[in-house]
């Protein structure tokens, strides 16, 4: 017997076919021995199972079962857990953001300065006993580095020489 016909017999037993089709199947089952035997088997299983489910009791006491459910309900109702050290994590996040902003500001500043750069730069650096002044003139394509020894003025608060460069303590380089 074709499978489609088998499942039609079953659908008829389950009341899932129209009245017209049901009447046709009933007639066929009555006159065909194979169809009749199959219908009888399916009907037996259907009838045996109806209202005959074995109810397996819960293997826990009422109190224990409820306590687990109650705990889970309460756990899900709690607001998200906050660590007592969450301010530290917040501070770390703030520092990262701050560092990002600082880097961005520096990059922007340098870019702008590069765009509006003067024709000459003068950089001065002072170390212990020594002062260095670098002068760069773009138009002349010239860099002057002036080193001044201040060690002799220690304790006086006065520079050994004036900041006017002269031949004795300056070095001139052409780029």
């Amino acid at each position: 017997m074709k499978h489609e016909l088998e499942v039609r017999i079953q659908a008829w037993l389950d009341g899932e076919v129209s009245d017209r089709e049901g009447a046709r199947i009933a007639e066929w089952v009555a006159r065909d021995a194979e169809a009749g035997a199959l219908a009888a088997e399916l009907r037996t299983v259907r009838k045996a199972m109806a209202d005959n489910e074995l109810i397996v009791p819960l293997p826990e006491t009422r109190q224990f079962h409820w306590s687990k459910i109650e705990r889970q309900i309460q756990r899900e109702a709690l607001p998200p857990h906050r660590s007592p050290f969450s301010w530290l994590a917040g501070w770390r996040r703030f520092r990262i953001a701050l560092a990002g902003v600082t880097v961005l500001t520096c990059v922007l500043t340098l870019t702008v300065r590069q765009m509006h750069r003067p024709t000459f730069d003068e950089i001065s650096a002072t170390g212990e006993g020594m002062e260095a002044v670098t002068f760069h003139d773009q138009s002349a394509e010239m860099t002057v580095v002036w080193l001044q020894d201040n060690s002799q003025t220690s304790g006086t608060g006065q520079p050994a020489k004036t900041s006017v460069p002269d031949e004795s303590n300056s070095d001139i380089e052409l780029e």
Partner: protein, 200 residues
């Protein structure tokens, strides 16, 4: 001065109403009344005590969270049973995805051994005491594949129509009809086998 309601004596509708307002004691009484039924449904589908316990517990927690959605169109226990069935079906789908070689799928597509089985006569359940019949049905159900067992449970015990079973199992009505057919044929064979074992 207000007194606590007498929960064990309260009608189910009253307990549901109180629980919907956040009364956990009322909900506890509902759990106590229906815990066996909800667990039994989970067990009948999963056939595993630990999984059935976890899923029935999850169903109660989900029921509590969604209590406001319960409109009383069906009974409370029917509504809760639908929740646990859906959780079991989700779990079974997850397990099926994890199985690499699905023997069940092979058997289902070709009809498996059910196609070769002769029709069982006479009635293998005739003359059995109800308790004995229930135990035999349970033992036979335990030997079915998840797909066959689920479709039988939903049709015979939950009395769902083909269309509703197909919707819940996320398959076609044709698949439901086919699974149900082979599941019944296998049950007939298993019940006959269990009867023979008893006679011997």
């Amino acid at each position: 001065m207000s007194t606590d309601p007498d929960y064990p004596a309260s009608a189910e509708a009253e307990l549901v109403r109180l629980a919907q307002k956040g009364d956990m004691a009322a909900f506890e009484e509902l759990v106590a009344r229906h815990r066996d039924k909800i667990y039994a449904r989970a067990f009948s589908m999963m056939r595993n005590e630990d999984e059935a316990l976890d899923l029935s517990q999850d169903a109660w927690v989900k029921g509590w969270r969604r209590l406001e959605q319960f409109q009383g169109d069906s009974s409370f226990v029917t509504w809760m049973t639908r929740i646990v069935i859906n959780l079991c079906l989700d779990q079974l789908r997850k397990q099926k995805r994890q199985r690499t070689d699905s023997i069940d799928a092979f058997e289902e597509d070709g009809g498996g051994i059910e196609r070769q089985m002769p029709v069982v006569t006479p009635n293998p359940t005739e003359g059995l005491e109800r308790t004995e019949l229930r135990q035999r049905i349970d033992r036979a159900l335990a030997q079915l594949s998840h797909e066959h067992r689920t479709v039988l449970v939903l049709h015979e015990f939950e009395e769902l129509e083909y269309k509703e079973i197909a919707r819940r199992m996320k398959c076609s009505i044709g698949t439901v009809m086919s699974r149900l057919f082979y599941a019944r044929r296998r049950m007939a064979s298993l019940l006959a086998g269990l009867k023979r074992e008893n006679l011997e």
